[in-house]
Symmetry: none
Subunit: 221 residues, 4 copies
DNA sequence: GATGAATGAGGCTTCATTCAT
DNA sequence: CATGAATGAAGCCTCATTCAT
């Protein structure tokens, strides 16, 4: 009863999959998909190699579980925000970007995005899964946000598909940078500032204001 | 000289490393660094595996040679253009982006960028090499271009470091997309249009013109 | 006694080993000895893997129990028939063959014979057990039947040991065929016809009767 | 030149596949397909594990090569004999049985037959291969021999398919016995005598001649 | 009795690198 | 110069058996 060993044991049974998923997430992010050895995942979770296979059929399913457990729920939340937002679309845009940054970009979850960009071509089935469960949904959200802006007259008409890509690019890049050449850079990318730059640039552009235009608010930087 | 056979032989002897580098480039781009087998490189170059080791100490040196042979020279050219350019900086910007697109982005060389973003963390020495020889120089070029624009009053003042990143992001992403999830997408990214969108968005921003501003040229889309 | 719940429980408790043996028989027959996983045996019996070890020391003992429970009793019956038979030996022969066919050959028990022929050499202790408990007794029965036929002048004198083997061969083969290459054959072996062919051929031979011999009954096919 | 080491080396290159096939044959016969470890095959051939994969894609292909190298050619020879035989069909029958005995039955090749009977259901692709390349051809030969006997009036009319099975059974069984329970039997099966018994029984049957039939030659035992 | 989580040895396969020829 | 046979460490996955609860 008051024996801590016993208690530890009991807790384990239910906690095990979570522990394994946490260990797997860490290692997938640290080393990538191919370079992550299941031995190491098990070791980091404090169990033996075989135990892992009690909970996950194979490496691929383990990875999918990591994605489903960690990435997919965040998408759901963001979709909720998008559906129910009542402010200006420029604000919504900032909201989505910041939300993404807090829940994914500035998290080890960013490593999952990086990993998929990096290795999808070597693991087609994993790629398909990730594309269907994550990329497609993420793109759709951005597109809907832009359409809202155009529909309400806030944004200029634009090629939505292209603009979606243009928006995703800096966000994805931020995640890639965090996990690429980080040891080569003296100072890390200043992410928050980068995001601000990006949002401002995206909203206002980089060109100096033409002489006659007085109405545009100056960028707050 | 007049012995054609001998000449062929000599040419062949000198051409060996080039043939190996070409084969290596192809395979590195197709499969990534770790997944490229030296067996296959040798086979594609039409030589035996052992021969490869006559010219390159190991996999890492082979990859470095591929980069030095293919990527580095393009950087030199771009730097030349930058130094001697006399038109507007907006034009220079377009020039650099298009030049990059023609020589790298729209080339299998884009695969090298993708590969390094993807795998650099698993191969720190390769990463360091690539960072020093390619990334640093590329970033410096963009920065100098932006500084020129600001200095000449064409661009608004900005955080150069951040803006450099914002500019590189879409270009890098275009290369990554070409090599990621390509089999999951029904239609490939429309790169030229994407680049136009990017340049226009970057120069003009996305917000509708405020009512009073008449001077700004409408985006030509 | 009058508590039905308790009774159910008790019955269940006693039935456990039987349920495990039934599951084990099924799986041993389906997959062979080595390829049968104790996990699956337990699962098919509706218990946990650990429970299996409460009743059977290990895989080997489980298998022995399957044989003792299912195969050995049939041998006893056949011996009873043999001892007390009063008709002609040709009839007895048919009787034994048909009895075997009904109780073993045409049953999943045939899989046990197949399995032992197939894997005995990899499991010497199991082999020894099976040889002592099954093969020796089966061979002895055939031999006694043939000796009876010769002693009563019904059969020509013969090498009993050899003839025993000659008789066993088709019966064993029928069992092997049922479990080998069954997925490669468009139609299964026609077992009853095969047995008839065998009995007739064995009794009459295949040569055409020489011209002068009118007395031999034509084969009833 | 006169350095034996060098010579050994040279010989190896060409001999290697044969050495590996020989080692594989030995071990497949000794232990069966599943229980044969490729490590052991390599070790018995005096090479390392990896070397095996220079010559054979995987375990399955190694096994197929063993069959193609050892079993298939014998079938070809037998077919040659069958096509060109000019004597009586009873003689041809004996010839085929003895030829099979010398080239396969009394050889370690018999272990291949045993192995396939034993494990085909666990390795469907191997089973299909063996069925197509060996079983079908073997059965066809027996059938043709029997048809010849019937066509020439030497054999009674019969169900050819069934008779083929009746004939194959004892031959297959002889091979199985050699590799099953051999360590349990005090004395091995007397194969030659068994074959004689079988041929005689098959040709003449076992029944004592009916009184009036004087023409049939007595069995020579 | 019953459970089922955990173990770890063992098997197949891959590939960068070496080295005798 | 060139070859290509050989190596062996390393990775994924399976499963009989154990043991704390």
């Amino acid at each position: 009863m008051n024996c801590p060993l016993k208690k530890r044991w009991e807790r384990r049974k239910d906690a095990r999959p979570q522990e394994l998923l946490a260990a797997a997430l860490d290692l997938f992010v640290e080393r990538g998909y191919a370079a992550t050895r299941l031995d190491d995942v098990a070791a980091r979770a404090g169990v033996s190699k075989g135990t892992l296979y009690l909970y996950f059929t194979n490496k691929e399913e383990l990875f999918k579980a990591v994605v489903r457990e960690n990435v997919v729920p965040v998408l759901g939340e963001a979709e909720g925000i998008l559906e129910s937002y009542s402010g200006s679309t420029a604000e919504l845009f900032r909201e989505l970007v910041l939300g993404w940054w807090e829940r994914i970009g500035n998290t080890k979850l960013s490593g999952i995005t990086k990993l998929m960009m990096a290795e999808s071509s070597n693991f087609p089935e994993v790629a398909q899964f990730y594309h269907d469960e994550v990329i497609r949904r993420g793109d759709a959200m951005i597109a809907r946000m832009l359409e809202r802006g155009v529909a309400q007259g806030e944004f200029r008409p634009m090629d939505i598909r292209q603009a979606t890509h243009v928006i995703c690019a800096p966000m994805i890049m931020l995640m890639m940078w965090k996990h690429s050449f980080s040891s080569c850079r003296p100072e890390p990318i200043a992410a928050e500032e980068y995001l601000n730059s990006f949002v401002e640039l995206f909203l206002h552009g980089v060109l100096a204001e033409p002489a006659g235009s007085a109405g545009a608010p100056p960028p707050s930087r």
